[in-house]
């Protein structure tokens, strides 16, 4: 039954068990996580018990017969890396979508982690012009952060905008279950910006089998590691939508009869997602990998296992929602957070940045309370009225995603709104900042 073709390849033709996602056969000398080709489809070893090997077939097992040919390749999934990657788009297996070949060195994907003591503390501010991000949730190179947004929010647009303004040497797009329209949209925006030569794409669209998606983030991150670790480049990785990645994980674990944990997700979801996100890093030699991802929500529910585990892993989250008062999408200051912001705000930006940021958010919270009062039919105090006025202007001039200004200008705008509606005491900034920056009545 077994015949050796190439040096490492072993071929078998007798499957004795098939499920929707897996096939099992008798084979020997097989390595865990090794790749195989089952009836022309890519598969990976997920379990070995004695001489029985179980393979997960990425494209599904539809139509595979018990006498299908299985070729073991003797290696884990790889990507060919090299300068050739730039400007190209690939499928989940790392093959160019437009055909052709790639010259380069073969690398295993999903490789080892960076030794924590070899990391550097991230310290480079990424300016996006969007005040909801720069002012309240400043991003730093080497950070990992997702957009939390309902499917109807324009997260891919915002992400593309951020990517183009971020001054990255390379932008790597990992499309995980991307609609074909969104894939074309990304291509178009990058092309219009004249940035295509800085882009590498790994794309699995909704037209491709869902389990294939599991390879995309690892492919994208392997390419990112090549540029960041070896070429010392600043790399920005965009992963959209990792909720669909987690869904694919649950499909696989379910088909392998594993005990599901919360929301039918595998018990290892935290570790599985952390393995990807922790590839974000600042290397000592200047290269960095920054990951901006999308975790789509269902009706804003962040307690679902996918956003919940994500939030525990990432360095904050950017929460998009529509503000009905101004009719625009804003970066919600309550639910959003950048955990690395304190590494740059007040240090790489003006010293009063942290206090201004906090004061504005506190006043916005007061406005939210006032709104609740109003909805419950109570009278508003003068202070309540002023917070509402402030909140509206704050939303319009700073939180809306169409804002595009420098950080200093964001701070100035904040002082304008403060002084228009409040006294310094009500705002509660440190005295020296009030003395220096507070807008005096003209």
């Amino acid at each position: 039954m077994e015949k050796d073709t190439k040096a490492f390849q072993r071929v078998y033709t007798k499957l004795f068990q098939l499920t929707k996602a897996t096939v099992s056969l008798k084979a020997s000398g097989i390595g865990n996580e090794e790749l195989a080709i089952v009836d022309g489809r890519l598969a990976q070893v997920v379990k070995i018990m004695g001489d029985i090997v179980t393979l997960q077939v990425f494209a599904g097992t539809e139509g595979i017969a018990t006498d299908a040919e299985v070729i073991f390749t003797g290696k884990a999934p790889t990507l060919k890396v090299g300068e050739d990657l730039a400007g190209r788009f690939f499928n989940a297996y790392g093959e160019p979508i437009d055909g052709g070949q790639i010259m380069g060195e073969e690398r295993e994907i999903g490789g080892p982690s960076v030794n924590p003591v070899r990391r550097k503390q991230p310290s480079e501010f990424i300016a996006t012009g969007i005040a909801g991000i720069d002012l309240n949730n400043a991003l730093v190179t080497g950070q990992k952060i997702p957009f939390f947004a309902d499917p109807d929010q324009p997260y891919n647009q915002v992400m593309a905008m951020v990517a183009l303004r971020a001054e990255a040497d390379k932008i790597i797009l990992g499309g995980v279950g991307l609609t074909n329209d969104d894939y074309l949209y990304f291509k178009q925006v990058f092309d219009d910006a004249g940035a295509l030569d800085r882009i590498v794409g790994f794309i699995n669209t909704t037209e491709n089998p869902p389990v294939e998606r599991l390879l995309v983030p690892d492919m994208a991150l392997a390419a990112a590691e090549y540029y960041a670790a070896e070429k010392n480049q600043k790399v920005l990785v965009l992963l959209t939508d990792l909720t669909l990645y987690a869904d694919a994980l649950s499909i696989v674990s379910n088909r392998m009869d594993q005990i599901p944990s919360k929301d039918s997700m595998p018990g290892s979801l935290y570790s599985d997602l952390a393995r990807l996100y922790e590839k974000a890093v600042q290397f000592p030699d200047g290269g960095s990998i920054t990951i901006i991802a999308v975790t789509s929500l269902s009706s804003g529910d962040i307690t679902h296992a996918i956003p919940d585990n994500t939030g525990y892993i990432t360095e904050g989250q950017l929460f998009l929602r529509k503000d009905s008062d101004i009719g625009k999408v804003i970066v919600d200051p309550f639910r959003s957070l950048s955990r690395l912001k304190q590494l740059v705000i007040g240090k790489k930006t003006r010293e009063d940045h942290p206090q201004v940021m906090n004061a504005a958010v506190r006043l916005y919270a007061d406005a939210a309370n006032a709104k609740t009062k109003l909805e419950n039919g109570f009278d508003l105090t003068d202070y309540d009225e002023r917070t509402l006025e402030f909140a509206k202007a704050y939303s319009e001039k700073l939180l809306a995603i169409d804002v595009n200004i420098e950080v200093d200008q964001m701070l100035e705008t904040a002082y304008e709104l403060f002084s228009k509606n409040f006294s310094p005491v009500e705002v509660g900034l440190k005295k020296e900042f009030v003395d220096q920056y507070w807008k005096k009545d003209e």
Partner: protein, 585 residues
């Protein structure tokens, strides 16, 4: 001869090994793979089938691979030179590893075998000793590191010889001990101990009776943790667990701090070893890193080693406690350890308990917490391990197995609230839900009143009561409207806000506000109590809010200024003026 076996099955990092030889539960083994040896731990034995969890990726591993059993459980190496190190969960020295990326199967020595230490003997020849007794001392950073009778030594020994004062390396013989049967045992500076077994080389463990100063006001003033006590910090993501633990590790009045970064972000560990060498320990003036040891098993490092990491950290803490030191042990996050247990238990197809966690999770957690504590050593000296772990409840819901099990084991509960974090009220510790059981211990009450003034504890309870009444008033105001309640409700609400802003909230990133010692906390508590007990005159509820805002702002200015500085005193004068504005004499 050591036992050997062969790999017969592989499911992720669960490997099945067949052997005819003797193996023990929790024994360590090494699986040969290409040119490396992958470390693993026995977790179940079924006849000739031995289930092992591999502390590494099993990619490429084949059935038939040879396995060598080590004859011992997972153990750590104890000796001078552990401080300031960055270890992984298995106590490999991360700095000794080559290259930027971790290499599978690379294990490094935890101690430096060529480093020299100044030794001073403590015992005399002819003296009799038992496990944990101090034979001599070497200087490790500024700590007097005791060279002890190894913990594995049973019964009593006579000191046959003790090495003279001088400079030695860790593997030199420092003493020769004779046992009851006249057999001689050489003792070096190094000993080994299995991490899952508690070190019991002490005379007794009394109830904790002192308070550990942390510089964090919601701890010290409102919910103090005892030296040798236990506490835990549950909270949804982003609520401030890690920032709070880092604050404790910087400020707490401990001789040394051991931090287990268990399954969380690598960048948070980077933050510690980037900042701690630059920061000063206010009590000794030395770099903070000199008193800190990090056990880093971050979320992208092998899952099975997460469990090992917390035990490794605890064992190091026990080792230093036996030297008579005050150790603070922090673990972030114990939920990741519990999840690692769950992953493995699922792979072994064990009957799952609630939320898929192993059935014995509560027992595992309470056993672990019980290893903390204040102890009297055999020589009458004292040592302590104060342990504070974080818990990451799924969906932020505290009704889940890890939180519930930990609540039974830990004596302090610092619940972080999403709502407070959202409104940037940091640290987001819920003032009503949180508690310290130690505030009910008579010995702690006595200790606090002796150190902080005889009314201290009653004042603290009074303040807590104000918080509670403030919350009730707030709810009433919300239900009935601003003008639907008596004026008094507004004042009660705002008095609680004064406590919230002036005590509970503390800016972890401000140089001055971040750490407040007990002297300053005493001073401020008295000021605040004056305000809380005062009667204020208002004509309408509309005057209440702006007035208290002004008052709170002034308290905050005080918190931001250096204690007793001119700035502080000026702010205090302004505060007095504001208080007089409306205080009814």
């Amino acid at each position: 001869m050591s036992s050997i076996g062969k790999v017969t099955g592989i499911i992720a990092n669960l490997v099945i090994v067949e052997t005819d030889d003797r193996v023990a539960q929790n024994e360590i083994c090494f699986i040969k793979h290409d040119n490396t040896r992958l470390m693993a731990e026995v977790i179940k034995i079924m006849g000739q089938k031995v289930y092992v969890q591999v502390f590494e990726s099993t990619r490429g591993l084949k059935v038939g691979s040879e396995v060598e059993f080590a004859g011992h459980m997972l153990e750590v190496t104890l000796g001078p030179g552990l401080l300031s190190k960055n270890f992984d969960g298995l106590q490999n020295d991360l700095d000794k590893m080559e290259g930027v990326f971790l290499k599978r199967g690379e294990y490094t020595e935890p101690l430096d075998k060529d480093k020299e230490f100044e030794f001073t003997p403590i015992v005399k020849e002819g003296g009799s000793v038992i496990a944990g007794d101090w034979l001599g001392e070497v200087k490790e950073n500024w700590i007097g590191h005791k060279i002890m009778v190894p913990f594995v030594f049973k019964d009593e020994y006579t000191v046959k010889s003790i090495t003279k004062e001088g400079t030695y390396k860790i593997h030199d013989t420092m003493a020769v001990l004779t046992d009851k049967d006249g057999k001689e045992h050489k003792v070096t500076m190094v000993q080994k101990w299995p991490v899952k077994v508690p070190v019991r080389a002490f005379k007794e463990k009394p109830r904790p009776f002192k308070v550990l100063e942390t510089g964090v006001r919601v701890f010290d003033t409102l919910n103090p943790i005892a030296e040798g006590g236990t506490g835990f910090i549950p909270g949804p993501f982003g609520s401030g667990k890690t920032v709070l633990q880092h604050a404790l590790s910087k400020q707490a009045e401990a001789d040394l701090v051991i931090i287990a970064a268990c399954g969380e972000r690598a960048n948070e560990v980077v933050e510690i070893f980037t900042e701690f060498p630059e920061l000063e320990d206010p009590r000794t003036g030395r770099a903070l890193m000199e008193r800190t040891t990090i056990i880093a098993n971050t979320s992208n490092m092998p899952v099975a080693a997460r469990e090992a990491s917390v035990y490794t950290a605890m064992t190091l803490a026990e080792y230093y406690r036996t030297m008579g030191l005050k150790v603070l042990l922090l673990a972030d996050s114990t939920s990741r350890w519990a999840q690692a247990l769950r992953e493995m238990s699922n792979r072994m197809e064990e009957l799952p308990g609630p939320d898929g966690f192993p059935m014995d999770l509560p027992a595992i957690i309470s056993n672990f917490y019980s290893r903390a504590g204040y102890v009297y050593l055999n020589n009458g000296e004292t040592g302590s391990i104060t342990f504070i772990g974080t818990v990451s409840p799924a969906g932020g819901n505290l009704k889940e197995p890890v939180t519930e099990s930990t609540k039974k084991a830990a004596r302090c509960f610092y619940a972080l609230s999403q709502q407070r974090a959202d409104s940037k009220r940091y640290p987001a510790i819920d003032p009503i839900e949180s508690y310290s059981k130690y505030l009910e211990y008579p010995e702690i009450i006595e200790y606090l009143n002796k150190n902080n003034g005889e009314n201290w504890v009653s004042n603290v309870l009074y303040v807590k009561d104000v918080l509670l009444r403030s919350k009730e008033s707030y709810e009433q105001i919300n239900i009935l409207g601003d003008d639907g309640v008596p004026l008094e409700y507004h004042i009660t609400f705002w008095k609680g806000e004064v406590v919230d802003f002036a005590i509970s909230q503390q800016d972890a990133f401000d140089k001055i506000d971040s750490s407040t010692d007990f002297k300053r906390q005493r001073y401020m508590l008295e000021k605040i109590i004056d305000v809380l007990k005062a009667d204020f005159k208002f004509n309408s509820f509309e005057e209440v809010n702006p007035y208290f805002k002004k008052l709170i702002n002034q308290f905050k200015q005080m918190n931001y200024s250096e204690f007793d500085s001119d700035k502080f005193k000026n702010n205090e004068k302004e505060l007095e003026v504001i208080i007089k504005e409306r205080k009814v004499a």
